[in-house]
């Protein structure tokens, strides 16, 4: 069952009184009990997309258009009050930047309890017990002590886990996790990922997992969307994407992974930089400038999504002509 249906979503930021789209016509659905991973170059609009779903963009700075259907409701038409109830209770977000999402003046325990007070009808004692239980669940070994501490007294990874505890506290239907484990060591990362899965088994929540760690994607995702410069450029079930990535960006991305068993001095980076919002090409294949060795006519003029096998979508046609640069220079 689709629990989230996003149609033609645009999010533009105001820069010198003009709006520039950081998310530029994105459509997708999320099913319950599904983990949808979103990967993509830094600055491609992942967090902007996530923030739009829970309605936290400011009207003055950002223009959000399109549809975000959550059951019967279009979240873009909900009042602030309705959104306040949906946020946390039904759709929870784990922010990329835990320090700015936590209240610096409030003890950790009180912050978690606040979420419970607002969205559940537990008694005070139940809430206190629940706080400690949640902290334990996210792998914090001295929950009583940490509950009494303030955010600045915790390590980066501990703060991130507190965020996760708050996000799962009300058993939401959708969890949006923006880089939930980037600050965590691998052992706790594994533990948190297992925890999210367990929680999902219990509540059938749909999870949107934003990450740049392809290992995390491999271990967790059912389906993967790849974004570049505000657009989705490839989408596929996880096995398909890892077995045969198609879009040039996706292939270059996989190619830049540090290999545990390689002794190569240099990693394969993607040459060039992501253009800033104001300089983004708005027509044609946005990735063309990063792969100049691919002939211009390999790209579609108006790139569209092609379903190349069941559930596997690729934007533009340039993938058919793509080779890695060193291959092409050898051929020449």
């Amino acid at each position: 069952m689709d629990i989230l249906d996003i149609q033609n979503l645009h999010v533009g930021f105001r820069i010198n009184d003009t709006f520039y789209d950081a998310v530029d016509g994105v459509s997708f659905t999320l099913k319950n009990n599904e983990i949808l991973a979103i990967v993509g170059e830094s600055g491609c609009g992942k967090s902007t997309l996530a923030t739009a779903i829970i309605g936290l963009h400011h009207e003055q700075n950002a223009r959000v258009t399109g549809k975000i259907l959550f059951g019967e409701r279009n979240l873009l038409e909900c009042s602030e009050e309705e959104m306040n109830h949906i946020r946390g209770a039904e759709i929870a977000m784990i922010f990329q930047d835990p320090l700015s999402a936590l209240n610096p003046l409030m003890r950790i325990g009180d912050q978690i309890e606040e979420a419970l007070t607002y969205h559940t009808d537990y008694s005070r004692d139940e809430r206190e017990e629940k706080v400690l239980q949640l902290l334990k669940q996210v792998g914090i070994s001295k929950p009583e002590q940490v509950a009494r501490q303030f955010p600045h007294q915790l390590s980066g990874g501990m703060r991130q886990r507190v965020m996760i505890a708050i996000a799962i506290s009300c058993k939401p239907k959708i969890i949006i996790a923006d880089e939930p484990t980037t600050a965590l060591d691998v052992t706790i990362q594994a533990q948190i990922l297992d925890l999210l899965k367990e929680l999902q088994n219990e509540t059938e929540a749909g999870i949107i997992l934003i990450t740049h760690d392809l290992g995390v994607v491999a271990e967790m995702a059912d389906r993967v969307m790849v974004m570049y410069a505000g657009e989705i450029i490839e989408e596929a079930p996880v096995q398909k994407l890892f077995a045969s990535p198609k879009h040039p960006y996706t292939r270059l991305l996989f190619n830049s992974m540090p290999q545990l068993h390689s002794t190569n001095e240099r990693l394969n980076a993607i040459e060039g930089i992501v253009p800033s919002l104001t300089h983004l090409p708005r027509t044609g294949c946005r990735f063309a400038s990063r792969i100049p060795w691919i002939p211009k006519d390999a790209h579609e003029e108006q790139p569209i999504f092609h379903e190349i096998s069941k559930g596997h979508f690729v934007k533009c046609t340039c993938w058919k002509y793509f080779n890695f640069q060193h291959e092409s220079s050898i051929n020449r």
Binding site: L184, D185, Q239
Partner: protein, 314 residues
């Protein structure tokens, strides 16, 4: 020859509580560690979240009070000097902070953020300064028009690149990089790591590289410290750690590295949970009767392991 030594460093934080806000307990964030740094090498500092890695870094550059211990830089005891922001030590030792978002002043433009260390330590004309800023931005792959912008206009990864540019501004000798690439996507990560290696070669830089990504650590580091609850449980060359791990905690870290294929993930999850049970059963042996990790003892010229685990857990 090493140019910098850390000797028996300790950082303990008081926990206050009760009626009178008196000290009720202590967090032994860093509890007696020794390190040495040679020029041009990269040192990895790896360990569980909350084990004291950032505290170690911050204590070295003087942002945390040291409870006890000593820091020697080029033969001199700089334990006191390191607190003054304009000291020689400060120019030579820079830090890239873990929290890229909050370590940039939101009210300053990028140009001013980068100009700050330049003005503190280098004597440049305004023109040279502008050129330097352009160079720094180019080095980290940011568009030139970033200069006029404010931090909130950038994505997480972009902010981190600005942080790296700032640390490089004074051509330091040692850069303490606290999770410098964990907020970056893979291709930018590859760019930044390649770039860090390039400047290292060019300027003979030394890195203390704090990270939990064992793939990245393996790629970057010559020598690795494994930290656990404020102490080192194992240290050695890259080969020692990856090919011949001794301590149970080190093994657990290596065991939790996610695979890079979705195939077989159910099986891996099961194996991980089995390992976890074994770990829970044996890890208490890593501590002495006071709950402190045992001291390191050498098992080769380069490889040190916390005493208990040498015999017990192989």
């Amino acid at each position: 020859m090493s140019f910098m030594q850390i000797i028996d460093l300790k950082v303990h934080y008081p926990i206050r509580g009760g009626f009178f806000n008196s000290i009720v307990d202590w967090v032994y964030a860093v509890d007696g560690i020794d390190m040495e740094f040679e020029q041009g090498k990269t040192y990895g500092l790896v360990g569980e979240s909350g084990c004291g890695k950032s505290t170690t870094g911050k204590a070295i550059i003087g942002l945390e009070k040291i409870t006890s211990g000593k820091i020697l830089f080029e033969g001199e005891d700089v334990t006191k000097e390191r607190k003054s922001r304009t000291s020689h030590f400060h120019r030579e030792v820079q830090m890239i902070f873990q929290d890229s978002h909050s370590s940039l002043n939101p009210r300053k433009r990028i140009a001013d953020i980068l100009a700050e260390p330049i003005r503190n330590f280098l004597n440049l004309t305004p023109r040279e300064e502008r050129k330097k800023i352009d160079e720094l931005l180019a080095i980290v792959g940011m568009p030139g028009d970033s200069k006029e912008k404010f931090p909130h206009e950038f994505s997480g990864g972009q902010k981190q690149r600005i942080n790296i540019a700032r640390a490089l501004a004074t051509n330091p000798k040692l850069i303490i990089a606290d999770e410098p690439v964990s907020a970056l996507d893979l291709s930018v990560q590859a760019q930044v790591l390649n770039f860090m290696k390039d400047v290292q070669k060019e300027f003979g830089l030394t890195y203390l590289f704090i990270s939990h990504d064992l793939g990245v650590v393996k790629h970057m580091c010559d020598y690795i410290f494994i930290m656990y609850k404020g102490r080192f449980v194992e240290c050695g060359t890259k080969q020692d750690i990856y090919q011949n791990p001794k301590h149970l905690y080190t093994k657990r870290l290596l065991n939790s590295i996610p695979a890079t294929t979705p195939l077989g993930r159910e099986k891996r999850k099961w194996a991980r949970q089995e390992f976890e049970k074994m770990y829970e059963k044996h890890i208490h042996k890593a501590f002495d009767e006071n709950g402190r990790v045992y001291d390191l003892i050498p098992i080769s010229d380069t490889h040190y392991v916390s005493a208990s685990s040498v015999k017990e857990v192989v």
